[in-house]
Amino acid sequence: MATDTLAPPMAMPGVRIKSELMQQRVRAARWFLLPMLIALAVVAGWPLLRSIYFSFTDASLNNLYGAEWVGFNNYLRWTTLDSGKTVYRGLLVDPKWWGAVGNTLRFAAYSVTFEAIFGMIVALVLNAEFKGRGIVRAAILIPWAIPTIVSAKMWSWMLNDQFGILNDLGMRLGLLSQKVAWTANSDTAMTAVLIVDIWKTTPFMALLILAGLQMIPKDIYEAAEIDGVHPVKQFFRITLPLVRPALMVAIIFRLLDALRIFDLIYVLTPNSDSTKTMSVLARENLFDFDKFAYGSAMSTLLFLIIAILTILYIWLGKVRFDGGDR
């Protein structure tokens, strides 16, 4: 890299001659990117393609390589009976699958909504100046730091029907008339899952929103104060519009996370049809029921649903990820 010209390291607009140096850097960049790209291709790209491929075959757990192509049979197939009646089978007419889709969407909608609201409240508290702010910030990091499996176990103990502290507390405070089997009862299982998820991930939301809040210049509020704008109006007219970009990104991160939820539900409410999500059902079919191809079809559909929702959200919400040029 011997060069006697003082060429700028980054191409400046208006520099006409593409210097030797620049070319060298681009060449080096290619080599630097190669290991990462290979790693991502092997660990993400190829497995994704194979999963999609399996969904069009009759593969089973012990017969991955002898699998034969069956077209869309896993998704939808029909046979016409002698009586002239047509019977549809496959994933697209499977009530269990659509139940799981419903559970997932319901879970995602409720958890993200509550997390956004509570996250905003916590962020506003942390954005205020008061004694002990450091303690609050440290405290809210604790739920975030606890592994999901551990928090699922902790809460399933606290939500225990016989010996759980939440039933005890609810009875003492007169909020509950009798002990509730939170995780076992199909009416309350989703509530239990939502409580744990909201508890665990509100801190993440709060920290992302807080970062957005701290970028709002303080003098705007001073000006509003002088004009006598009511604090509630200040929030809706100043804070919310200005924090919106950060909020949108936080929501999309959480939404994508919520749509693929697996571990919390697998541990907290196993075998409950009222909380079974797409991920749980897909894994069950892949590895527990030996319906490898059918499970692959589920994971492929899950991938499609998440991709479509993401695109819709980014498009409708006009979220901008300014990841490109500096």
Binding site: P8, A29, V150, M154, I165, D168, L208, G212, L256
Partner: protein
């Protein structure tokens, strides 16, 4: 008039501090209660108490001396540490290229990396299972180190790229004038400046790998190869109706305390790392 005004101010302050206390208590209480439970044995377990009133190391002794939990701990440490080192190694050079060199398709590449990090893990599960089986690493730590790359690598690349982009141009210019190659620039100029970012990203990736459940559940099959989240999830007592809550809580506390300590020590760095991964984009 002045009196009522002060009263209103005092009420507001009180309400605010009540909210603060509520946030702190509801954040900390479940973990506090897990610690409380982990020190209870026998029938004490089934008596609800809000304050520590019995104390025994029994559950900890049971978890650490019987079964494969110590082995699971070692597995988790080894797998998480190796995953992080691998991801950082691959990510440093890649993020240098993504942040400091202009080339066609850079924006698209960054979007792809972001997309991979948001990938539903279940979508690749079947294909990964096949790859891991054909590599002959099923039910070994390498299966998990291999598969964890899918979420640690995009994350580290993304955060390190946003960090490197903010480093001043001048230091690099000086190195180029001295005739340094890109490799020398990375190792001699950037690395010394980058270590805070490396510690933060490494720690976040470590936590991600430490907590991972779906791959660990799927790609290991024996007690000795499991990681701690799977071990805790599958911890069961003598019979199926007898869940060893004390032992589960003791194991949970053992797994969580190091994380909580690390997170509290590196608080500021972690918060900035999280927001760099999320908001700054």
């Amino acid at each position: 008039m002045v009196g009522t005004f002060n009263l209103w101010g005092a009420t507001k302050t009180t309400l605010f501090y009540l909210l603060v206390i509520f946030i702190v208590v509801e954040s900390v209480f479940p973990f506090y209660y897990a610690i409380l439970t982990s020190f209870k044995t026998g029938t004490d377990l089934f008596r609800v108490s809000y304050w520590p009133d019995s104390f025994s190391w029994g559950n900890y002794a049971a978890v650490l001396n019987t079964g494969s939990f110590p082995r699971n701990l070692l597995n988790s440490v080894f797998i998480s540490a190796t995953t992080v080192l691998l991801a950082l190694f691959l990510a440093i050079t890649a993020s240098f290229a993504l942040s400091r060199v202009r080339f066609r398709g850079r924006g698209l590449l960054l979007m792809t990396i972001l997309a991979v990090s948001m990938f539903p893990q279940i979508a690749v599960l079947a294909g990964l299972f096949e790859v891991i089986r054909s590599l002959g690493i099923y039910n070994t730590p390498w299966a998990l180190i291999f598969s964890y790359t899918i979420f640690t690598l995009p994350f580290t690349v993304w955060v390190l790229t946003t960090f490197m982009r903010d480093l001043p141009l001048e230091i690099e210019e000086a190195a180029i004038v001295d005739g340094a190659t890109p490799w020398v620039i990375i190792t001699r100029v950037f690395m010394p400046l980058m270590w805070p970012a490396l510690v933060t990203t490494g720690l976040l990736a470590f936590i991600g790998a430490w907590n991972e459940f779906l791959f660990a559940l799927t790609f290991t099959s024996s007690n000795d190869t499991r990681t701690v989240p799977v071990a805790i999830a599958l911890l069961s007592g003598g019979s199926s109706h007898e869940i060893p809550w004390g032992a589960i809580m003791a194991a949970s506390v053992i797994v969580t305390v190091p994380l909580v300590v690390l997170v509290l020590i590196f608080q500021r760095k972690i918060v900035s790392g999280l927001t760099a991964g999320g908001v700054k984009g």
